[in-house]
Point group: C2
Chain length 340, copies 2
């Protein structure tokens, strides 16, 4: 009984779709206007089959889109409006059925929750800050865009050079602490310091690095310290950070952030590099770009185990050459729904 | 004389930057607050060097960002405001100098002109239409997003299935024309048609295809016909088109369009495919995705000579899994600045 009801529903819907096509055809008169060709019975049968048998029917959607496309060419406004209204009503009914005409979601709830530009799904927590992580291919003006964006939004800006300065301060503080503790613990320490002054700079450097990084290679220790700094900063301030795998670092710590990859075709980046670095050979600039991209990719994969530059790893990728620097800033602001 | 003036200007700017750091440091009191360490003379010297010698100085920008970052931590609001205002004034003066502190543009004017979401640079022509080209990796819900977007914007929707229907109509019309012309030109044609009915369906099909596609392989002929259709449609209507290298086709014809690539991590797409197609093995779904992606990549590269899915080839790439279908539609609308 219930099945017969559903069957009747589908037949009814199929008839409405077919009739809509007929009306659209009559209103345009174009020979291309008619979407359903052949006998009405056969078409209705096929529509019912699509409605019942096929889940996620791309074909059914195509049938509907085809009819709607024809309707939109109707010149008479009241007719067009009436037929579009019938089309929308059919679409709504399809969606309300449990025929799975409704799309299957692709969302990764865990990732989406960390994406602050995802406003309708995401309720920002009380102490949550706006953090924008920019990865970029070499000479794609990603740094310029990041700096201009931070400046425009009046929020902090971190890139390798800024972070280096911060790491230096952290290192110096650690050195001082270390020396102070040694002096306290070891009465012979003063002598050891004197000794250290006598050994070569290189050796002294090695000793100092060992004490700073607990024996880790400098790159790993820097990564560790930068990660720690960014995770702490994310608790207290808004910022833009360029590079340093910040997206992966924040994702690992479940800190909401917007991740964006900026690139442009290689030839344009080479030309950009020629201008910024005063390189006079295009070939040389292309080589430099390829070298730096390889370095970036290695660094990113080493610390994140993800593929650098693959669009599925970021919320969004932007081609800076099709916007330019200022408009890239505007586009990012529109996406995260922030105005000045 | 003029040189001395510029030199003095730089010295003056360097002093202002240094003094700003000092003031910021005094207002925070933090040991990490002071950005410039060492003698004032040495720092000023270094700043002047950055201002004069290095074009596009990333270091100079880093120095400024570091000072600004400290200023933003100042708790006293009037002090913070005063120092930020001095910071902005320094930034403006730097930009107004011809010291090339200003960023070097990466924009490709030709591409940017074709990008309708690039509003501040782009003045739409009188008869220009909103055309959104969506490329997508397999099972990234790119089709769902495209359909929902077209529906939301009340504009036409074309994908492979819709376009197949249109191609069929075009083919039928061509067949009819061809037969009519043959009948007119050749009195023996009626006999030939009779003959054709006697040969196998396969042979008849080959003959018909040859007449339709002028001897081109079907794939090439379809590509040609779809290209022709899209270029014509772009003159009269707004639309969303999914796949079919539409971005490259429209770019070749200098038709403004917004090009977007939709993807998601492969494992999520496999799970999506399992749900939509009722596949029960994750491994099988992963294989299917890899197969279809390879097909898409081959098709795209064959007709465009560009790399499919490389972010530098589109205006923008979107990770559907970090937005979901509905929010992806919203994000695209925000980017192109269209509301319902």
């Amino acid at each position: 009984m219930a099945n017969t009801n559903i069957e009747n529903n589908y037949k009814n819907l199929a008839n409405r779709i077919y009739d809509l096509d007929t009306k659209a055809y009559e209103s345009t008169g174009s020979s291309l206007g008619r979407h359903f060709i052949g006998s009405k019975e056969k078409n209705i049968e096929e529509l019912v089959r699509l409605l019942t048998a096929k889940k996620q029917s791309y074909q059914l959607r195509a049938e509907l889109a085809s009819v709607a496309n024809v309707i939109r060419t109707i010149k008479d406004k009241p007719t067009r409006k009436a037929l579009l209204s019938e089309y929308n009503s059919i679409l709504q009914e399809l969606k309300s059925h449990d025929t799975a005409f409704e799309s299957v979601e692709i969302i990764n709830e865990k990732v989406a929750e960390l994406n602050p530009s995802n406003f309708s799904n995401h309720k920002p927590a009380k102490n949550e800050h706006l953090i924008i992580c920019i990865s970029r291919s070499h000479s794609s003006a990603g740094n310029d865009i990041g700096f201009a964006l931070a400046d425009d939004l009046h929020i902090n800006y971190y890139d390798i050079d800024v972070l280096k300065g911060i790491l230096n301060s952290i290192d110096k503080e650690k050195d001082t602490q270390w020396h102070e503790e040694k002096f306290k613990a070891d009465p012979n320490y003063a002598k050891a310091v004197e000794m250290a002054h006598r050994i070569s700079d290189n050796q002294a450097n090695q000793l100092r690095e060992f004490s700073r990084y607990h024996g880790l290679p400098k790159e790993d220790a820097d990564f560790f310290n930068i990660s720690k700094f960014l995770v702490e900063a994310a608790k207290t301030e808004d910022f833009v950070v360029v590079g340093r795998c910040a997206d992966a670092i924040l994702a690992n710590s479940n800190i909401p952030h917007f991740s964006i990859y900026i690139t442009a075709p290689a030839d344009l980046r080479a030309k950009h590099l020629m201008k910024t670095q005063g390189i006079d050979s295009f070939k040389k600039a292309m080589r430099e770009i390829s070298k730096k991209d390889t370095m970036h990719a290695r660094y990113y994969t080493k610390y994140t185990r993800r593929v650098w530059g693959y669009a599925g790893n970021y919320d969004l990728c932007l081609n800076s050459s099709s916007y330019g620097i200022d408009e890239s800033v505007e586009v990012i602001k529109r996406i995260i729904q922030k105005s000045k």
